[in-house]
Symmetry: C2
Subunit: 348 residues, 2 copies
Amino acid sequence: MSFNIEDHPHKRYNPLTGDWILVSPHRSKRPWQGQVEKAVVAERPKYDPDCYLCAGNERAGGKFNPDYKGTFVFTNDFSALLTDTPDGGIDDGELFQAQSESGVCKVICFSENHSLTIPEMGVEDIRKVVDVWCEQYNELGSNPNINYVQIFENKGAIMGCSNPHPHGQIWSSKGIPTEPAKECKTQKAYWDKHGRTLLADYVKAELEKEVRLLAQNDSFVAVIPFWAVWPFEAMIISKRPVQNILQLDDEEKTNLADIYKQLTVMYDNLFETSFAYSAGLHQAPCDGVDYSEWHLHMHFYPPLLRSASVKKFMVGYEMLGTPQRDITAEGAAKRLRELPKIHFKNKF
Amino acid sequence: MSFNIEDHPHKRYNPLTGDWILVSPHRSKRPWQGQVEKAVVAERPKYDPDCYLCAGNERAGGKFNPDYKGTFVFTNDFSALLTDTPDGGIDDGELFQAQSESGVCKVICFSENHSLTIPEMGVEDIRKVVDVWCEQYNELGSNPNINYVQIFENKGAIMGCSNPHPHGQIWSSKGIPTEPAKECKTQKAYWDKHGRTLLADYVKAELEKEVRLLAQNDSFVAVIPFWAVWPFEAMIISKRPVQNILQLDDEEKTNLADIYKQLTVMYDNLFETSFAYSAGLHQAPCDGVDYSEWHLHMHFYPPLLRSASVKKFMVGYEMLGTPQRDITAEGAAKRLRELPKIHFKNKF
Ligand SMILES: O=P(O)(O)O[C@H]1O[C@H](CO)[C@@H](O)[C@H](O)[C@H]1O
Ligand SMILES: O=P(O)(O)O[C@H]1O[C@H](CO)[C@@H](O)[C@H](O)[C@H]1O
């Protein structure tokens, strides 16, 4: 018997974080008697008088939203990072180290229509979201006290999203957060060695191999990375090495909207449900340093595993040992790739 | 205004993993409209005919449990790691690296009594669990194909535990898992520099400072680590630097059972509920190498934040940026420390 990656337990290396993950392909066969999630309510109204993100409504902080159409951006009423935090820290030996952190947190409503989600929006409307990302990255990135802009979306109650109105967030900070900081290191080492970005070589290889490819257009690919941890984890990667979204041209911005839609339609179609995830852009820090090694990409971390109601729990061994997955990246990619390309709600 | 760690957003350094975490002390004030967990059913029978861990019952794999009393250990019917996995891997350039992984996964029933949990068990019965850990660490660790033994417990449906019968697991492997591997590096560097274990110095400092201390006995302390990520994350650390549980003497083993109970009683009393967590021992690898730098400890990662039904979601910014907490470690420790020491169910 010789080793076979489709059947045998193995570890895979994530070159972006430098960590290994564990794959147990045979394990999805075990029965599930654990927690089952509530089904997502099928339809929402276009306007909900109790939603603090709908146009014209009052927010938790007491402010009122304008009567917006399309996108709307405001500063988070309960920001985790604040602009007026004084510098300082604690330096009480090497075991007690703390540093002040400051920044700006914003909320981006994707549409005035409360009933929508990204996969149900038109590409031209998602493009407006991409334009807001560009504006915000530009505005926040120009602030000398902000060195990293983290744009992300939490979708679905099981991902801790407290409001179903289509929206995303931006947390921008003086410091470079942990995950992008890891990617700075790994991408720099690769660039110094090869003179090409890590993800340019990765995209090239995935386009040739095809087994983990989900979708592509002229400017972007969507793949299940070789080192995926979450069952249907995916990445959107630009075909052209760019360091941030401001370097995308007009067509590329529309293509980013297009691939965002393509991927999330696949997700919704998998279990014919509104598929929950955390997603976010990783791009170069905006601290003025040259980041030729950085290559724009977007991570998608969706928790569902077996059905619309059974998710993967990253607990126990995953927290104390090594993150572990129960199906292969290749098997997950095949399932997503073979789904209809039209959103299931538009089937008839 | 000068920087104040109790009020201002800041980062803290985790010397065991080498990562930073974000603390936003003011953020717990935000209202919560998100997902609410089901309340834990108050009482379970001592025997459940449908439980595959109860004595005498049939398991998912078709085998029958013996009519055990006290603890009972068996090989997981759906092991993530298997003994007969052939060696091998994939070495397809630096972006596509995989390695075969093998090992043994076991389940440990803590008691024949289906209705119990660790905080409701007597110290002498928890001591029997500690003895099983020792036996298993010894047996598995002597296997030349096993270099790390990860002992852990997932408690509660919200932690992905699929059966409420009191039980834990062991996943032992040829490779050293990601988290212990990080701790190998950091503890070695500290040892080489100071000639003392990192956690010996840490325990000494926490015993002096007292602000994050939860409980102690002659052999162990329980603390909320300075760098805790989960709201009520805790560590149990041996006062004497030992590398693994086999080095504990008889009294120390009983004291480990005692502190395990003390901490979990605090947890249950916090929200007067059966408090969910993932917990596990971190100890030296068993690959025959000298690990003088290793210091036995146990991590507790509980998800609840505000109440018995509102947990902290590690999503969005936490996945893409930096893990973030909404209350300080010191505030969390104070709340736990001030709780009654007797389990709430025994109050009357
Ligand atoms: O083995 P169990 O309890 O069925 O499963 C649980 O613990 C495992 C080990 O931590 C995890 O991999 C699973 O995701 C979780 O649901
Ligand atoms: O900001 P929200 O949506 O209220 O909160 C959610 O996203 C945040 C940022 O990822 C997390 O820190 C919270 O735990 C989560 O519940």
